[in-house]
Amino acid sequence: MSDAAITIAGLHKHYGDLHAVDGLDLEIGTGEVFALLGPNGAGKSTTVEILEGFRRRTSGEVSVLGTDPQHAPKEWRTRVGVMLQSTSEHGALTAREALKYTAGLYPNARDVDETLAAVGLTEKANAKPATLSGGQRRRLDVGLAVIGRPELVFLDEPTTGFDPEARRQFWDLIESLRGDGSTIVLTTHYLDEADHLADRIGIIAAGRLVALDTPAGLRRRAADARVAWVEDGTPREVETDAPTALLRDLLARHDGEVEALEVVHPSLEDVYLRLIGDATRAGESAAPADPTQPSKEATA
């Protein structure tokens, strides 16, 4: 990582009372594949659209390739590729026509046929756009985002709604882009996608970054085990990165059976769910609900 492709400091975006982005600090290095992971409504797309120059921020500092995207000149656009969350359903151009036109807007564009092959649309190159499947349209969107040979590519929820097979193929496509040295920022609400593709993952919930780590680092957090048992009639629970030592101590204090002993290793998914769960609860603390009371929906 030579220097930062993107720096974000104290970013806020408010829609009335809703704080979609609530104080975000982040630095994404040049050449990095970075995943912004979080549930729907967490603020991923709002953040990315601010970085893409489509939305105005409420406050904070943002620099993308050394430029404030809110006031970016058109030359900046030749360095940034964008794949939106939405796909055009009513385009009139074939895949080849769309790629050829788009390539003509960039000073050092990729070859159209090479790009068609890279996104797996060679056979559909001249097909009527209406005959493309959802997955093929998304692949065309990737092609359109990268054909200008951008230094930085944004992929906003590229695989939402895909079946597992299509998602795997799509991952291979993104992997192949990594070789070009461009910086890739993708948003997703699939943990396995971020885990598979990204050098680093930023987990975002309720407009805040709740974790920033490599996939391996997040997995290490998952190595913490939860040890539960019952002692003197009271349930006890401890989370530890050294469950064996804890057990040894426990066994030393107990002669016979330890009552209701349990050792559980949370999965990566458990870590993720706990992180976003904590953040969502913190976000709702303005109107605290009694957690001991079952909700109306649950009892109805």
Binding site: K74, Y101, A109
Partner: protein
Amino acid sequence: MTTTAPRASSTAPTWASMTRARIVVELKEFLRSREQMVFIFFFPVMLLTLFGAVFGDANIAPDVTFAQYFLPGMVASGILNTGFQSLAMSLAVDRDEDVLKRIHGTPLPQTAFFTAKIVQVLIVSVIQIALLIAIGVALYDAAMPSDAEHWWTFTWVFLLGTAASTTLGIATSSLLRNAKAGSAIITPVVLVLQFTSGVFLVYTEVPTFLQRFAEIFPLKWLAQGMRSVFLPEDFAMAEARGSWEHPATAIVLALWVVVGLFLAVRTFRWTRHDDN
């Protein structure tokens, strides 16, 4: 990648090359959209033949039939349909479906985008008008403009009318909350203008207060300007003020161009209303 072979596409794009490429895209999109083709080409031709067949023979002046009066009116409303109605609706749909946002995300200059839109409107309008004139000449003995003076009048009325319609169309697209609201709002507006501005009805037979109302808007002036091109010179006496009023026509249309341009520049947005 250390070695990149020089390729044809590595020449830097210019404003002209990008505008040309965008014009081709705009035309392809228009030609491949069945709705637009029907609305712009088939619908006016159908109206012209239908009204011509029903009311065409009635004389509204000694040597002017209603069909002949109706032709310049349809040419005028064709300019409004293409530049205003069709453009506003297609821009609203493109905004709703993030097509505009996607364009904004590329290096295409804004001026290139709008130039391409305007060229597309001009080309489509010319074809539409040629179709209408051909039918008028073939079926209703309408006379083609006979001299350079009439063609000059046709040209400036057409260009000013298209400029006013296009800028107002772009501005209106930004005011629409979404594409669905588009047809519900724009269609009645255009219909009211068509009925009061001397398109579907003879202008001088419309009640005076409606004439005053129609005088505010471009269509009345467009229609009158086109009548001065296609109807005999002495029909000017039958106009509301006994003359073709060319200076007033130029002034009103030019004012609308200025208003439209101001509104279009001030209100245009690449993203949906709920995006910010």
